[in-house]
Symmetry: C2
Subunit: 284 residues, 2 copies
């Protein structure tokens, strides 16, 4: 793998987009960007951790983009453009690397945030291939933060939960459109995408004064998923949100409610009182 | 090193800035962003490649930011905000990682593009620590591209060239202010920052019809630098640009001129006719 030739090949196929004033090949990219706020975030994907070396490479690229775009959805945003990096050992098969970028580029463009630049570096021979995707976006109406669940709100989730590892984590579509439909129809007090596990991610919606209570019997389970492990599986990339208003049934399922929390009480419990605030992927 | 505690500590010290509407801790950051164009780029820094494990950690963070901001300068841009990622083995010393982020955060804020978010991932135990910095910026007047040197332009360089490895590569200040002073005083036809080596980077300024001719006796050399290796040392992070107008002597030194190029002629030669288009860091 030669950095320079790989870069050239990757960006030769670059998306044509009227918004891209300067595309790959210069020091930086320059985009037309209308509104007066900028949404930005970055996610890393390590081969051997988030995917395996046997994962089809186009699905690796797809997942690298989809994870980052899921964050855009969770903020109530629309992606506008993306940057992608790779750190790869020199011995990396160039066709494999190209396929990763192909998968990323195709899906980034399809979902509205084309890849406009990036960086490729060669890492040590024994290094795990790594990719990162940075996405920029806009907020059409209002940005939805975490940490703002209100007493008596209902907790909702889009789609289904659990057993993502079997198939879903490589094939999910970021809930960008669903988030927009929700925001345009009801007032959402807090929202997050479920990446680390329902229990842990729900804890991010709680405030100092609110506790989320989840009814396990109401949680929609993906095929092959079982409770309680579905609470900690993670990589669902579904939207978890709280609202005092009722969303369309097609968009989300109610799974619990928000109540007052006293200091030192857990942030998330089941209706039977079990603390599930820490269930999920341990970032250690 | 625990990802979650490191993240908390890193962003606890986050910059206060009125432009940051949503800072670290949510799915993405949200910035006030006035103009209608967005400049964006990303650079990776691998410990063991761009710096060593013995490099003082605050200087590692400083360099990670400075390299990316140097690209902003080379585009004629002003940084507005940054994202930073780390991929670190679990055994990484947390104080060391914090110091890297401290160095990055301090300099990003000082140079006008505070770190507003990022991502931390744990990599394999034998992995080299890696960082990336994404910067977004604005273009106050006009974006300066590469690939546009015109016949009879003079070639200029800011500062001095060569022997960056001794000291400069860890201590340089991105030429953001100098670029703005130049752009506000003369018309620049093409510009790049010298990262890979004067020879190779100069080749990016040439067009299909123009050739850059560099006079080695005019190239300002850094202390300890010698020709011809200064042409290939790289990591100078000085601005190399072409113009038909004369900049202030304080800002840049003339080192050559641009002439017509026939097909198959080298893009960059010395006044004695030597092809130096490929001198510099080999991206293989």
């Amino acid at each position: 793998m030669k950095e320079s030739s790989l870069l050239q090949q990757i960006y030769k196929k670059s998306t044509n987009d009227d918004l891209i004033l300067i595309g790959p090949g210069d020091d930086m990219a320059l985009l037309e960007f209308e509104p007066n706020t900028l949404l930005c975030g970055v996610d890393q994907l390590i081969v051997g951790k988030h995917v395996t070396i046997d994962t089809p490479p186009k699905l690796i690229g797809r997942k690298a983009v989809a994870r980052c775009f899921s964050d855009v959805a969770a903020m109530g945003g629309i992606p506008v453009g993306s940057l992608m990096t790779a750190a790869l050992p020199l011995s990396t098969d160039e066709a494999w690397a190209m396929a990763v970028f192909d998968g990323a580029r195709e899906h980034a463009a399809k979902w509205g945030g084309p890849i406009v630049g990036g960086d490729i570096a060669s890492s040590a021979e024994n290094a795990q291939p790594m990719f990162s995707v940075t996405t920029f976006g806009t907020i059409p109406t209002t940005a939805i933060k975490r940490n703002n669940a209100q007493v008596d709100d209902v907790i909702y989730v889009t789609g289904k939960i659990g057993n993502s590892i079997e198939n879903h984590h490589l094939h999910f579509t970021p809930r960008i459109n669903e988030a927009q439909m929700l925001i345009n129809s009801i007032k959402i007090s807090s929202m997050i995408d479920i990446s680390d596990g329902l229990g842990q991610d729900a804890s991010h919606l709680a405030t100092n004064k609110t506790q989320l209570v989840i009814n396990p019997t109401m949680v929609p389970l993906r095929k092959g998923a079982i409770l309680p492990s579905a609470f900690s599986d993670g990589e669902d990339y579904e939207l978890l949100f709280t609202s005092a208003m009722k969303p369309s049934e097609n968009l989300a399922t109610p799974i619990g409610f928000v109540q007052h929390r006293n200091a030192n009480e857990p942030k998330v419990i089941t209706t039977s009182g079990e603390d599930i605030s820490n269930l999920g992927w341990s970032h250690e």
